[in-house]
């Protein structure tokens, strides 16, 4: 349970969601616009973290004292770690093969 003093010091839920939305937008923008595959991976991490902020913020404000939102965020972090491993491994392999990590040069699936 939160007391009033703490509550008055805490920013509102809306500001968290705003941060989350900004992160998501930055992530999507980065994923779509970065030429370097590593940049794309980093942008995808931003999207994950945007989701995590939302999960944690909703847990804190809507269901305080319960662990589910935070637990889910932990899961997402673990998932993001696994994703980063696979993604980096792919980028490494692509680099070995094509001597480039620029996404615009990698279009062998072009029809």
């Amino acid at each position: 349970m939160l007391n009033d003093s703490v509550a008055t010091l805490m920013p509102s839920l809306f500001s968290y969601l705003l941060v989350g939305a900004a992160l998501l937008s930055l992530g999507i923008f980065g994923a779509l616009s970065r030429r370097n595959m590593l940049g794309v991976l980093i942008a995808i991490e931003l999207i994950f973290n945007a989701a995590n902020i939302n999960l944690v913020a909703f847990n804190r404000y809507l269901h305080p004292g319960q662990p589910w939102g935070q637990a889910f965020a932990i899961f997402v972090i673990a998932l993001a770690a696994a994703e980063a491993v696979v993604g980096l491994a792919l980028v490494l392999t692509i680099y070995r093969h094509f001597k480039t990590v620029l996404s615009e040069d990698l279009n062998i699936l072009k029809g």
Partner: protein, 663 residues
């Protein structure tokens, strides 16, 4: 002997087949086989003939309208109620013919041993001779018209083979074709006559025909049948107007000419008239036609013989002329005289040809202007030819030709055919003239070609022996058949007059006129020939120049020209027209037209194929797929961020949808 008469034609037939098949392995290429068979046939025929003379009632049990006959037959096939048979019929006429045919054939074959020695295809020559003889014998012994026709046509074939025997020479090949085709024209009529007899009377058997004909044949039918059958004679016996093949037939080897002219081929036509004299007797019209054809043939051929310089050509024309005599006799209704002359003529004409062959063998030319004086070099040939000469000019009493020719003249005289009698008498004069000319030019006088004369020599025994036998027959056969074994007993004087067998001839009543006529003809002919060729001995070219019209009339072969024209009109011109028609209408119009239409249709079809099927359907669908694919391919950029953008936009759209922006 007579019970095995079927062997007479069958043995030579077998011999010819054997020689063709196995001749090359036999000594003399099988010639001895043919000669032996001919001798056997001669012996058998002679025995039969003697039997027919001495005891006819035993040998010839059947009595028909044309005299006694012997018959045996085998069924061949039957159509409906009509029975066709193969058979043997022997009466006086055929018994005589058998002896004539086998005798002449035998002598010719013996003669050919010398004449054809060393020539190519020796064995084949004998096979053909045997086949020729067999064909004639099949015809002679036939007891029905169909078998007669078979022999008749086989003879046409064998004459073709023999006339064209030296086919390396184009003239011989051409002559054989000419003989074959010309006689075919007559055979067509003969065949129609055969069919007419068979359809109208229902039988082809001579005996039945002879017995039935009087009762059932009307004058119109008799005339039709007689004239059709006569067509066959005209072709085969070389009567006007189908005589043209016979002079050309001289291209065959000389012994073959002897065989064709004496015993086979041309004799068959006369024999046919004799066989069917009972039908001719029913039709005065046909008889008149036959008599005049014979008379004119005799005269025309004798005229042609006057100027011929080829010794064989003279003899060929003389054969046509003598055949004319025989046909004339048949025409005045006296088969006896006709067959009598056929018999004697067979002997002396065979002799003349074989003698001419002997001369040709010695001097290697046919041209009389290159001969002369050969009598000294070739005594046997000369003396035997002299006997034949006596016979053909009808020298009184000592020659066979005298009796038979008198019989014919007498028959004409009895018919009161004065114009024909005059023609026959004049022909006798001409015959004497040209035959005397032949003898003088060949054997008498000085040699005109010294080189040839020096090489000339008498022929060998195989050639002179047949000549001697025939010479004896030429002299005595007439006497023999007139007094000792009267020919009248063999062949009835006229059809349907069995009882009338009174001999007639030189001393028959009222025939002093005939005798005087023939003696006058003989004397004038001899005198003329003696004057012209011994006393004056004119240059032939000067003579020809002095009478160009007459010379052209006698030498130019008007009938040949006419037939060429006829062929031109009947065959070549229509053929040319049809060819033009074929080219212009069939080829150019129809065939090419169909082709052009086909090409046009193909072009339309091709346009449809190219533009509609290919252009619209096939390429259209392909193109559509290509264009759609090209559009879709633009989406497949391969750039991962494009896909990501799509996913993002999709997610955004879902978001909008979930918050209810779209409704």
């Amino acid at each position: 002997m007579i019970d095995h008469a079927h062997l007479i034609p069958l043995l030579p037939l077998a011999a010819s087949v054997l020689i063709i098949l196995f001749g090359r392995w036999l000594p003399l290429e099988g010639a001895w086989l043919a000669i032996l068979v001919a001798l056997a046939g001669l012996v058998q025929s002679s025995v039969i003939l003697v039997g027919v003379f001495t005891r006819p009632e035993v040998l010839l049990p059947n009595l028909g309208p044309a005299g006694r006959f012997f018959e045996m037959s085998w069924d061949w096939f039957s159509i409906g109620n009509h029975r066709m048979e193969l058979g043997i019929m022997i009466d006086g006429m055929s018994a005589m013919m058998l002896v004539v045919v086998t005798l002449v054939s035998f002598l010719v074959q013996v003669y050919s041993l010398g004449y054809q020695r060393g020539k190519p295809r020796f064995g084949r020559y004998y096979a053909y001779l045997s086949f020729f003889t067999a064909s004639m014998l099949i015809l002679v012994v036939a007891n029905n018209l169909l078998q007669f026709f078979i022999g008749w046509e086989l003879m046409g074939l064998s004459s073709y083979l023999l006339i064209g025997f030296e086919f390396e020479r184009p003239a011989a090949a051409q002559a054989s074709r000419k003989a074959f085709i010309t006689t075919r024209v007559g055979d067509l009529g003969f065949y129609l006559g055969l069919l007419l007899i068979f359809t109208s009377l229902g039988t082809a058997n001579f005996g039945i025909l002879g017995a039935e004909s009087v009762k059932t044949i009307g004058p119109g039918l008799a005339t039709a049948i007689a004239l059709l059958l006569f067509c066959g004679t005209v072709g085969k016996s070389a009567q006007l107007p189908l005589h043209v093949w016979l002079p050309d037939a001289m291209e065959g080897p000389t012994p073959v000419s002897a065989l064709i002219h004496a015993a086979t081929m041309v004799a068959a036509g006369v024999y046919l008239l004799g066989r069917f004299s009972f039908i001719f007797a029913l039709s005065p019209v046909a008889q008149t036609v036959v008599a005049w054809t014979g008379g004119l043939t005799a005269l025309g051929a004798a005229l042609s013989a006057l100027t011929a310089t080829d010794i064989k050509k003279v003899l060929a024309y003389s054969t046509i002329s003598q055949l004319g005599y025989m046909v004339l006799a048949m025409g005045v209704g006296d088969p006896q005289a006709g067959m009598f002359h056929l018999t004697t003529h067979a002997f002396f004409k065979a002799l003349l040809f074989l003698g001419a062959g002997s001369v040709i063998h010695a001097v290697h030319t046919n041209e009389m202007p290159a001969m002369g004086g050969l009598g000294k070099k070739m005594p046997v040939t000369f003396i035997t030819m002299f006997c034949a000469w006596l016979a053909i000019i009808g020298f009184p009493y000592v020659s066979s030709g005298f009796y038979s020719k008198e019989a014919i003249l007498a028959a004409v005289y009895e018919k009161h055919e004065i114009a024909l009698l005059a023609i026959a008498g004049f022909t006798a004069l001409l015959t004497t003239f040209y035959m005397t000319r032949l003898m003088i030019l060949t054997f008498i006088g000085t040699p005109r070609d010294a080189e040839r004369f020096r090489h000339a020599h008498e022929s060998g025994l195989s050639m002179t022996l047949p000549l001697s036998v025939l010479a004896a027959l030429s002299l005595f056969a007439g006497f023999l058949l007139h007094y000792i074994w009267p020919f009248a007993n063999l062949v009835p004087r006229a059809a349907h007059a069995v009882a009338e067998t009174v001999g007639h001839g030189p001393e028959g009543g009222g025939h002093a006129v005939v005798l005087a006529l023939s003696l006058a003809a003989l004397g004038l002919g001899l005198l003329g020939a003696y004057t012209v060729y011994i006393l004056r001995n004119p240059d032939p070219e000067k003579m020809a120049a002095r009478f160009p019209g007459l010379h052209a009339l006698l030498t130019v072969r008007h009938f040949d020209r006419f037939y060429l024209k006829l062929a031109d009109w009947l065959c070549f011109k229509p053929a040319a027209f049809l060819q033009a028609f074929d080219y212009a209408v069939i080829d150019q119009f129809l065939v090419d037209g169909v082709g052009a239409v086909g090409r046009l249709l193909s072009r339309i079809q091709s346009w449809i194929d190219d533009n509609i099927v290919d252009g619209i359907l096939v390429n259209g669908f392909g193109g559509m797929a290509t264009r759609i694919g090209a559009g879709l391919r633009a989406l497949q950029s391969g750039a991962v961020q494009n896909y990501l953008l799509g996913a993002a936009l999709g997610a955004f759209a879902l978001l909008l949808w979930s918050v209810g922006v779209f409704g």
